[in-house]
């Protein structure tokens, strides 16, 4: 621990510490998408946050804080995976449940007998404005949390992390077509959830 000089950089650091904490929820979701295990995710995020606080002086402000934290988290996740692999050399990875099942019922309900939207889809009012509101992101998180685990992970990797589909298939041990189906389901469900809880529900 340093001494208690009361200069500005220190104050700034304090503000950063508090701010770092606000990204914990996001980091947990990120880690859970990679590790598939909430407890492990918790552990890794804790490590990453400690490392971040330790190295906060090296945060230059050139990227956003979230991007910076994510890069630390990525290292920690890789590190963790290496450790786990060497610890239990033969930990069988349960193959991901296949998702070639027919469309779930909630999906059928969105269309009429001829396969057209019911009700019709109307444009959302001021979506750009929604991006400026913190509460909207809370709704988004809650909507993601409602997805089935595997679907949520695949969506998170594809759309939030921007991972290519082939890589996701490999990690998740699913076929490409499964992957596309899951992504489509995720998008349909999220679209509906955002509409109900934000655009039309407010």
């Amino acid at each position: 621990m340093g001494n208690c000089k009361n200069n500005n950089p220190r104050e700034n650091q304090h503000v950063l510490f508090i701010e770092v904490e606000t990204h914990r929820g996001y980091m947990l979701r990120f880690a859970a998408a990679k590790l598939r295990d909430a407890e492990q995710a918790e552990e890794v995020v804790q490590e990453a946050l400690l490392a971040a606080l330790d190295g906060i002086g090296s945060f230059s402000g050139q990227s956003t804080l979230r991007t910076w934290l994510t890069s630390i988290l990525k290292f920690k996740i890789i590190d963790f995976q290496r450790r786990v692999i060497s610890e239990r050399a033969h930990f069988a990875n349960a193959p991901q449940q296949d998702d070639d099942s027919p469309d779930p019922e909630w999906q059928d309900k969105m269309y009429d007998d001829t396969g057209h939207w019911q009700p019709r889809l109307t444009a959302w009012g001021n979506p750009d404005g929604a991006l400026e509101q913190k509460q909207f992101f809370d709704v988004f998180e809650r909507c993601m949390d409602k997805l089935p685990d595997a679907t949520s992970r695949v969506f998170f990797k594809r759309e939030v992390m921007g991972v290519e589909t082939d890589e996701i298939c490999k990690e998740e041990q699913i076929s490409a077509s499964n992957c596309w189906v899951m992504l489509h389901r995720a998008r349909l469900a999220l679209r509906e959830c955002l509409e109900r809880n934000w655009f039309f529900g407010k």
Binding site: G115, L121, K134
Partner: protein, 71 residues
């Protein structure tokens, strides 16, 4: 939509619009989708919502939510 024998249903069009973000569509698929979108406002709205969802997810993964507005 009551247009006579429009090849694609909205359900299929929506699937293609989603897949379009993850893989290259075949020429046939692209054509079918294009002609469906010409006549279907709902699906055009869906397309815009998909684009928005993608922006939202990217924003979520980079900047994160905006600061709370001071009250």
């Amino acid at each position: 939509m009551v247009t006579e024998n429009t090849q694609l249903s909205c359900r299929e069009a929506a699937r293609l619009m989603s897949h379009r973000e993850d893989r290259v569509l075949s020429d046939g698929e692209t054509e079918e989708l294009k002609s469906h979108l010409l006549i279907c406002l709902s699906c055009r709205n869906f397309g815009e919502q998909l684009t928005f969802l993608r922006r939202l997810a990217r924003r979520y993964g980079t900047d994160g939510p905006p600061e709370d507005a001071p009250t």
